[in-house]
Amino acid sequence: MYKAAILGDRDSIYGFAALGLEIVPVVEKAEAARTLRRLADEDYAVIYMTEALADTLKEEIAGYAERLMPAIIPVPGAYGNTGAGIANVRRFVEQAVGSDIIFGADSQ
């Protein structure tokens, strides 16, 4: 049985506790990186993360890109949508196809 967690600043994530996700509030970057590593080594299949935090942990997240688990999914936090989540998906398309053919219309 695997677990699911959400990482980010407290205000953005406490609501998810009611859904049954494990909430892991982190603020500082080094601490966040450590926590991410710990969660990835444990039985977490899905780790949601606020876009703001995901932005500061790019390298750490990239290390898990090729692994089946955990899936690290950026979600918008309480302080608004930075568009990083959608940009991430757009990057997949660019990587696979060579150019962005799905989001082309709304990227500008």
Partner: protein, 230 residues
């Protein structure tokens, strides 16, 4: 041609075999890339739709939570959410799509009743919190589906990139290189064959000359003809 190739028959057979394998590999990889691409595009469209839905859902849930917070003290809020009744566990299965392992999540809930979301008594909390939690709860299936689809997209995108590189390397480097090498060897062998042929013809001429003395005889014949006429 940068590398040196031995113009031998053995090398030629080896290269021809390699070319057959390379061509076959190229075809297979191209098929793999096309099929992966088709599935990826389908999945990424779903990913986009799901993400938009989830992001909109989270934004509206966050608004509800802000509203709930404004009606309650922080302490009351924290106590209310301290011990959640629900806990999600995931069962992870993997599916193999064109040699890419993609995950499939099945959610298991701790409490059997999925509507059992409220970890607090209703006396000291505002009704807005109930609404906020209810709006959040509707998001969970979509969020899990998003996680599954997005991870799959990520893994497939990496594999497509790799496959595309291989296809291109075969198509534009390996196969043309092999073809030039094969051509080079064939030409060289043909050239050798021709030169052997010529050498044999020359040797034959020389041997005939040696046994029959054609030249000498021709000279003698010419001299006698001249003497007769002169």
């Amino acid at each position: 041609m940068a590398t040196h190739v031995n113009p031998t028959r053995m090398e030629l057979t080896r290269l021809k075999k390699k070319l057959v394998t390379a061509t076959r590999g190229h075809k297979l990889l191209k098929d793999k890339r096309d099929e992966l691409m088709r599935q990826f595009l389908e999945l990424v469209r779903e990913n986009k739709a799901l993400r938009e839905k989830v992001e909109a859902g989270i934004a509206s849930a966050n608004r509800d939570f802000v509203l709930a917070r404004s009606g309650m003290s922080d302490e009351a809020m924290n106590t209310a959410l301290m011990a959640p009744t629900q806990r999600v566990y995931l069962e992870v299965a993997t599916r193999n799509v064109m040699s890419v392992e993609i995950p499939e999540y099945t959610a298991q809930h701790r409490s059997a009743d999925q509507g059992d979301l409220y970890s607090y008594g209703f006396a000291y909390t505002s009704a807005d919190l109930d609404d906020a939690i209810a709006s959040m709860a509707g998001l969970l299936p979509d969020m899990l589906r998003l996680a599954q689809v997005e991870k799959s997209c990520q893994l497939m995108a990496a594999e497509i990139e790799k496959t595309r590189r291989r296809v291109n390397a075969l198509e534009h480097v390996m196969i043309p290189d092999l073809q030039t090498n094969i051509k080079f060897i064939t030409m060289k062998l043909d050239e050798n064959e021709r030169s052997t042929q010529i050498r044999l013809m020359k040797v034959k001429d020389m041997m005939l000359e040696q046994t029959h003395h054609y030249k000498e005889r021709a000279e003698v014949a010419a001299r006698t003809r001249m003497e007769q006429s002169g």
